[in-house]
Symmetry: C2
Subunit: 311 residues, 2 copies
Amino acid sequence: MSDSTAAGQEPVTADRLAHRVPDLGALQLLIAIARLGSLGRAARELGITQPAASSRVRAMERQLGVALVDRSPRGSKLTDAGALVTDWARRIVEAAEAFDVGAQALRDGRDKRLRVAASMTIAEYLLPGWLIALRHERPGTAVQLLAGNSQFVAERLLADAVDLGFVEGLTVPSGLTGVVIARDHLVVVAAPTHPWARRRRPLDPEELARTPLILREHGSGTRQVLDAALGGLADPLLELASTTAVKASAVSGAGPSVLSELAVGEELAARRLVRVPVDGVPLDRALRAVWRVGHRPVGPARDLLSLTRAG
Amino acid sequence: MSDSTAAGQEPVTADRLAHRVPDLGALQLLIAIARLGSLGRAARELGITQPAASSRVRAMERQLGVALVDRSPRGSKLTDAGALVTDWARRIVEAAEAFDVGAQALRDGRDKRLRVAASMTIAEYLLPGWLIALRHERPGTAVQLLAGNSQFVAERLLADAVDLGFVEGLTVPSGLTGVVIARDHLVVVAAPTHPWARRRRPLDPEELARTPLILREHGSGTRQVLDAALGGLADPLLELASTTAVKASAVSGAGPSVLSELAVGEELAARRLVRVPVDGVPLDRALRAVWRVGHRPVGPARDLLSLTRAG
DNA sequence: ATGTGGACATAAGCTGGCGTTATGAGTGAC
DNA sequence: GTCACTCATAACGCCAGCTTATGTCCACAT
């Protein structure tokens, strides 16, 4: 039986992805070389010595089987392949930076700095970007992040356990005020191979309601909005515990899904998923920054808030 | 002088990102634990022993300062923080998978398998996704990837050095035929703090032409389309060598930019960039799969082609 | 022609992280 | 009580990657 890997989960690419992809340090080195035009300068910037950089680049080239850097006594420049690889590398590093600020925010609970509570979708997709921006504007701001559903956010705010909250949903919990910082649109998506992908006439609510969909589990904010929009009639083909798992299944063609635009922005742009037009289903919700009535955000909370108020 | 890090380049987050972000193996382990509900099973799946997995998770928790996994004699489950971290981890792993297939395609030149030439934008943003899909459908297909401009792609096809080409642009090079597989829209984007971000009335061509923009260097496909659309009048505020550098500058608020929708999909979804409406500027181009007249794609080339023909 | 300096390569040695095997210990089912 | 499962701990070995110390090449200035 081994483990029968449920539905369209991870097909476990291969056993040693980590051995075929250089580590973060190496990727950063490559990016630094692209920018600085010299192995040695790049090494210095990363706080290692030039021979170390030289050997890492060599190792990377051996690992990938492609020449990445044109060395010359006058400096180093990326090859064409190197430039392409470097752009792919940047996306890994960006994801790692988002991970880093997120993790830091999750940890920094001990210090009594800026404390934030956010709903899952916001914590996952929006907050890391805001925190990266915040770090640029106010370096040294330590943020603590708590993630949960709307009631949890409200409870933390009312208990004065956090300074600022972010919720997605139709209403503002009582005792709180806030501003709408963006709108989130749920979108119906399907793999490009799915019949719906070629569809031009919008779906109507009944058709959506009677088609089995890949969905998050009950209780997730996304699911709530969908159930409300369809009158509780969504028909799950598959219920998965994480947004990413849902995406992966949808991309692999297991079926259509309904997801936040935030979660599938990249997949839509890259045509791994296609948006299916829908009519007459209110798949919209506001994203709000909220705080306790009478406790207008000040200091770091105000800084963070102002970063978010523009979309 | 140290190094005066040009424009809005990398502000070098901090010196040891790699020391604050677990490596790929650890992230994959975490993802596997989330899916399988057990340290030991996850270890087995990754081909390591249970004590190794135990120690890695411990190390990760120490590194991040957050409890990630709830261990019990009945199995292991992620904590709330762990679930959030795991979702961030998935994005790193996805980027790494895209890197991996791309790099593999770049290398596999020796074998005479499927050889593909593509323009930069396609090679960077679309091909990795297609190749991941191709690997699922036809495991073991070795792909060689060459990236260059349209003339280069045409030349390789005509010389029979590649089996399939992908170009972005208004015309099909002579001697080739092909099909439109998608449309790429260039979009005007600005940081949410930029005045244009709040704009509702569309920009007109003159206004766009007289505003200094952050752009790729001359000769890039994106730049060509923009120059053509504006009659060669684009006014560069900054000319950078990579799409990612342009994005980073735009996000940091250095100025507005014009970029492919493919490149900024995620930034738009996460509101790190805002799309600015434009009127009367033809910022559209077709993405085409092309091949030599009379050499209809067969075999693996046909497989790949069919994967792309749905957006 | 001839230094001189910057940039990359090579060599030798050290260290630490991560892996292994072998074992202990808690919990629930029968 | 014993089995079957979980995770933790301990002792040890290996290899990747770092450092320091050098060598080589080339461009440019003198």
